[in-house]
């Protein structure tokens, strides 16, 4: 075996054996935790019905289209993209054996019902038509024939970002003009903006803790005005940019945002999941795992959920779809499942506005 490859494999095994947060202090509760009202909710039993012998792996991405069909991007034996109808019945698989599928990270559906998959293993964002045909590709899978890139030593600064190359991208969103915003990601620490035809326009962000800098932009969403909400997970804050990527607001009271989404309609809400980390550390589970519902200006409406493996509990939420504001669909990494969450009518909602 090639020496470099052997080293790489050994390195991967060693790193896998080290708990991610082993030397990290347990963070405090999210600032909003104590005061945010609890929102009552239910989880629908056995929402997704998979055919016999078809299995979900880690629930990584989830999104609904205008008909309520549910698209699930999962890390299974191979990374796969499944479609279910609004009742959770299995419809089909999209992109089986696709060159761009290696390590699922996100799926989103745009206003024309096109399906966008974000793959952090191939560094690609792939746009499918509603029929499941590839319409556009962004980024490029590195050529296997070029050999193996050595795993970077911890703390090694990433190479500078390039306009048309991603480094472990995480998520995608659009503004009303159809411009494309990609959170990129684990390697790069930026949001890149493209026109609707995939031409690079500009970017914002480098790795760091200053306003406008990012540390794992993990999820991204947009409101009806075209403002862009970036879940800056490693910095435990949501950064809000206008559609020219000027920073306008920072929300730092809802923990580490693993997944964000904004509901449609005249009164939009922002949901953000302070997910329990996926390393099964019980000390971290004790201070995380809830989802916040917020006004777009950052006012907390309420919270729901806690870590756990039971129905209605969450095992590291990795994506939320909130196309219906009281009927959320969440993808969980460690429980290998998708839950449909029904938020019950709230009579106390107005009280949460008191600040």
């Amino acid at each position: 075996m090639n020496r470099a490859l052997r080293f790489g494999l050994v390195a991967v095994l060693v790193f896998a054996a080290i708990p991610l947060f082993a030397q990290q202090n347990v963070p405090p509760r999210a600032k909003a935790f104590e005061t945010a009202p609890d929102l009552p909710y239910d989880s629908v039993t056995n929402f997704l019905k998979l055919p016999q012998n078809l299995y979900l792996g880690e629930g990584i991405g989830v999104a609904r289209n205008s008909k309520g069909h549910v698209f699930v991007f999962t890390r299974s034996g191979e990374t796969r993209l499944f479609e279910f109808d609004q009742n959770g019945n299995y419809v089909r698989e999209i992109g089986q054996g696709l060159y761009g599928f290696e390590m699922a990270h996100g799926v989103r559906v745009d206003s024309q019902d096109n399906i966008w998959a974000v793959d952090e293993g191939t560094n690609m964002v792939i746009k499918f038509s509603p029929e499941g045909r590839v319409l556009m590709t962004m980024g490029r899978r590195e050529e296997a024939v070029e050999g193996v890139r050595a795993t970077a030593a911890p703390g090694t600064p990433p190479p500078p970002a390039q306009p048309y190359r991603f480094n472990r991208p995480t998520d995608v969103t659009w503004d009303p003009a159809g411009s494309i915003y990609i959170s990129d990601g684990y390697g790069n620490s930026r949001v890149a903006k493209y026109d609707k035809n995939g031409r690079f326009i500009k970017e914002v962000g480098t790795r760091g803790t200053q306003p406008g800098q990012m540390n794992t932009p993990h999820s991204i969403t947009s409101d009806a005005k075209g403002n862009i909400y970036v879940a800056d997970r490693g910095n435990r804050r949501i950064q809000v940019f206008d559609s020219d990527l000027n920073l306008i607001k920072i929300y730092d009271n809802v923990g580490a945002p693993w997944a964000v989404c904004i509901s449609p309609g005249p009164h939009q809400y922002l949901y953000s999941s302070n997910s329990n980390p996926d390393n099964n550390d019980s000390r971290l589970m004790a201070v995380s795992g809830e989802v916040y519902k917020m006004e777009l200006d950052g006012t907390i409406v309420g919270k729901f959920g806690k870590p756990g493996k039971q129905l209605g509990e969450f095992s590291t939420i990795h994506a939320i779809d909130c196309r219906n504001e009281n009927e959320l669909v969440v993808a969980e990494i460690t429980a290998w499942r998708i839950q449909k969450i029904i938020l019950k009518p709230q009579h106390v909602q107005t009280s949460s506005k008191a600040k």
Binding site: A4, L98, Y99, F101, M136, V145, Y164
Partner: protein, 357 residues
């Protein structure tokens, strides 16, 4: 110093005037057939590395798809298929797949069809050139897939093919069909085979029609007769050999024995070339965008003596735009097929040149 800066200035002026000249090249109007290739449900194109048509107009596409698989053996690493060869009819309707699971399908680089409608595949990962008969049976193999894959550590930088490459100096290769990441194949009127080889070696290898090695020429470098990534190759009716010397941004023209005749250096980096059939032949060359930008991307039409007749297209993701054209088939002077790696597609282009052309 002053002398040097004057020389630099002259070079700059020369370059700039070259650019000005480029802007005066006539644009050739063209159309692209929307949704030309129709894949069955559940079948996906990946990077379209190669495209070629046969005498009936059937379109063959060699694509990088699926997941490149590397299997860790007890003490060796094995590579398995992630390349597929699809056939479509002249209307773009899917016909069949050829060579599914083939031992030599690892990393697609090119496909060409010879005058007898045999289909030739060039696989950069298996280091093989494979000849199929028109029915899709293997007729001949050139090169051999390594028993075990040596997975190299990527050299520094972005590692897009040809940047420094490998294979060691001088890149002349072993005499014979021992390829190092070959790229393309062409034939002369006697059926002699010319293989562009490639990313690792920097040579052209010539074989007789039965696959017997005759000679090879070239090594890595910038001099005439040297190559820095021979990426595409074509032969004209007079049996001259045109080599797209991509990273040297020139097309080198050799006689049938590999003697250097001339070079064409004003049409950008030739990612893909093809020569039209018929009594009056034209050469097309694509100055493709590298995958890191959407710059360049125009395709030039030239006479065989290197005069630029016109150009068309630019880089982009829309129809009639090109995402790294990696191969071209000149089915006719005005019917061109382009395979794009970035856009995962093949476009059928219809040129509508003015009558004065």
């Amino acid at each position: 110093m002053k002398r040097g800066s004057i020389a630099l200035f002259l070079v700059f002026v020369f370059r700039f005037s070259g650019l000005a000249f480029a802007q005066s090249i006539p644009e050739i109007p063209f159309d692209s057939t929307p949704n030309f290739l129709k894949l069955p449900d559940g079948l996906y194109m990946g990077e379209a590395a190669g495209v070629a048509t046969n005498s009936k107009g059937h379109v063959f596409v060699y694509t990088r798809t699926g997941s490149p698989k590397v299997t860790i053996g007890t003490n060796r690493t094995f590579a398995r298929s992630s390349a597929r060869l699809f056939e479509f009819d002249q209307t773009g309707k899917y016909v069949r797949e050829i060579g599914q699971g083939l031992y030599g399908f690892v990393f697609a680089h090119g496909v060409r069809v010879d005058r007898q409608d045999n289909i030739w595949v060039i696989d950069e990962g298996a280091n093989m050139v494979i000849k199929f008969d028109p029915d899709g049976r293997v007729l001949m193999t050139l090169g051999r897939k390594p028993e075990a894959l040596v997975v190299p550590a990527r050299s520094s930088g972005e590692g897009e093919g040809g940047r420094g490459g490998r294979g060691g100096p001088p890149g002349a290769g072993v005499p014979g069909d021992n390829f190092n990441r070959p790229t393309d194949v062409a034939w002369d009127s006697a059926g002699n085979i010319f293989v562009a080889d490639g990313y690792g070696n920097s040579r052209v290898a010539k074989f007789d029609k039965n696959g017997k090695f005759i000679k090879s020429w070239g090594q890595r470098g910038t001099e005439p007769g040297q190559f820095n990534l021979p990426h595409t190759i074509a032969v004209d009716a007079q049996n001259n050999v045109y080599v797209g010397d991509r990273e040297n941004k020139r097309i080198q023209v050799f006689d049938n024995e590999g003697n250097f005749k001339t070079q064409i250096a004003d049409a950008g980096a030739p990612y893909a070339i093809c020569i039209t059939p018929g009594p009056r032949q034209f050469l097309y060359t694509s100055n493709s965008n590298p995958s890191t930008t959407l710059d360049n991307g125009e395709i030039y039409k030239l006479t065989l003596d290197g005069k630029i007749v016109g150009k068309f297209g630019r880089a982009g993701k829309l129809l009639k735009e090109f995402g790294t054209v990696h191969a071209m088939d000149c089915h006719g002077e005005n019917e061109i097929y382009v395979a794009e790696t970035l856009n995962w597609r093949v476009q059928k282009l219809t040129l509508r040149p003015a009558q004065s052309n």
